[in-house]
Symmetry: C2
Subunit: 221 residues, 2 copies
DNA sequence: CCAAAAGTGTTAGGAGTACACCCATGG
DNA sequence: CCATGGGTGTACTCCTAACACTTTTGG
């Protein structure tokens, strides 16, 4: 029997100030009833990236998200049904787009806090840990953090994303100064009452970032 | 026809002060006569890591090297023989162990400078670029650099490794001070005449490194 | 009026970078 | 004796981290 290849996509979003991951409940054996990372077999005529995007859109209805290949898991015995190699991806969804299409596949899908995930099927616990670790690392030297926010956001929300993923508090003044120095945020003429005092809204300026990105700009948090 | 899976291993070493990569000349079509990154099909009962180690030892006779999974390449059409997904690895061989077993597979294998590699088969040019980029990145925040040196080495040799891979000169005094601050080298009571004045030999102290590794120690070059 | 998040500067310490000369040896 | 890499210290700059109070609004 041949080796088969799947892609699994670890989808993150921020909900209620905490990092959450998308999981689906398995209906059939093995691991019936357990939660698993969404994924499926790679079609013979599609690239790995395309397979990941297709699975993601089938499971959640979401398109045009940030998607990045993570690692390939291929130990024999990781799937009792046979030799299955999984190319794992991770994806980020803005918090205002994280409502799920009901009934895709009839599968029960839901968001679970990364701090306390349920027991997972197969070796998916390991895949999830790996994805969280990668997300933390990338947060510090890329702009992935913005992918988790709506187009317009406050500085408090941006800081909350960093704190949720890094798992520690960041000094507000230092955070704002450094973000300001990067010069990649465009302040808008709008405010939003996220707390009591209305906060200024910003938008990520991809244009300004492109000018600097290959110069080794770091996010020093 | 099913999807097949290979592992390819991008093997690096330092020769004559420059970064080199191990390539094999293809005997059969497609791309007969071209050079390619060594690799082969994953067996059904072995893990991806084990497959990479096996391929590496079959091609070079080398064991116990630093090996790390790189990325999986799976575009349809990347191999004219059919749908083949390649899990790429990179490996580092100490310069004193880079003599190749002649005649493994009867394949012509040899070291080529990464600065001016020959034209490569398949999408192996892209895989090589990806591996070089990863090596550069990892050099700056891990101890992979030591994998390219023999057990005993001089500070000049260590600096040459960094310069070869990063492609730029490093100030000698700054380099030595920072390496010294890390406290991960054990000075030996031996010297070697690598230039004219005999230089003190050092050994990498994995023990001391382990104490610090999870504290975010960086190699600031 | 009170709770809650917004917003704002300064300082001290540490790290990075630039820079030049003498030493020991082999040929 | 000379060419070659070995070996060493200082000063300036910049980044980081620590730190507290006033403002605005909703309830």
């Amino acid at each position: 029997m041949a080796i088969r290849v799947t892609v699994d996509v670890v989808v993150f979003t921020i909900r209620d100030g905490d990092l959450h991951v998308l999981l689906v409940r398995r209906g059939a054996a093995p691991f019936a009833g357990r939660y698993a990372i969404p994924g499926g077999f790679v079609h013979e005529d599609e690239s790995l990236d395309a397979a990941a995007r297709r699975e993601l859109s089938e499971e959640t209805g979401v398109r045009d998200v940030y998607l990045e290949q993570l690692y390939s898991f291929g130990d024999p015995g990781r799937d009792p049904r046979g030799r299955i190699i999984t190319v794992a991806y991770f994806a980020l969804i803005a918090s205002d787009q994280s409502t799920l299409d009901a009934g895709s596949h009839g599968a029960e899908a839901g968001w679970f806090p990364v701090k306390k995930p349920p027991a997972l099927a197969f070796d998916h616990g390991r895949i999830l840990e790996y994805a969280v670790e990668r997300l933390r690392t990338k947060l510090e030297y890329t702009t992935v953090g913005f992918q988790l926010l709506p187009e317009k956001f406050t500085l408090g929300e941006l800081q909350a994303v960093y704190e949720a993923i890094l798992g520690r508090r960041i000094d507000k003044r230092n955070f704002r100064r450094k973000i300001g120095l990067l010069g990649i945020l465009t302040p808008l003429r709008e405010r939003r009452a996220t707390g009591r005092k209305p906060a200024l809204l910003y938008r990520f300026s991809a244009r300004r970032f492109a000018n600097l990105r290959d110069k080794g700009i770091l996010f020093p948090f």
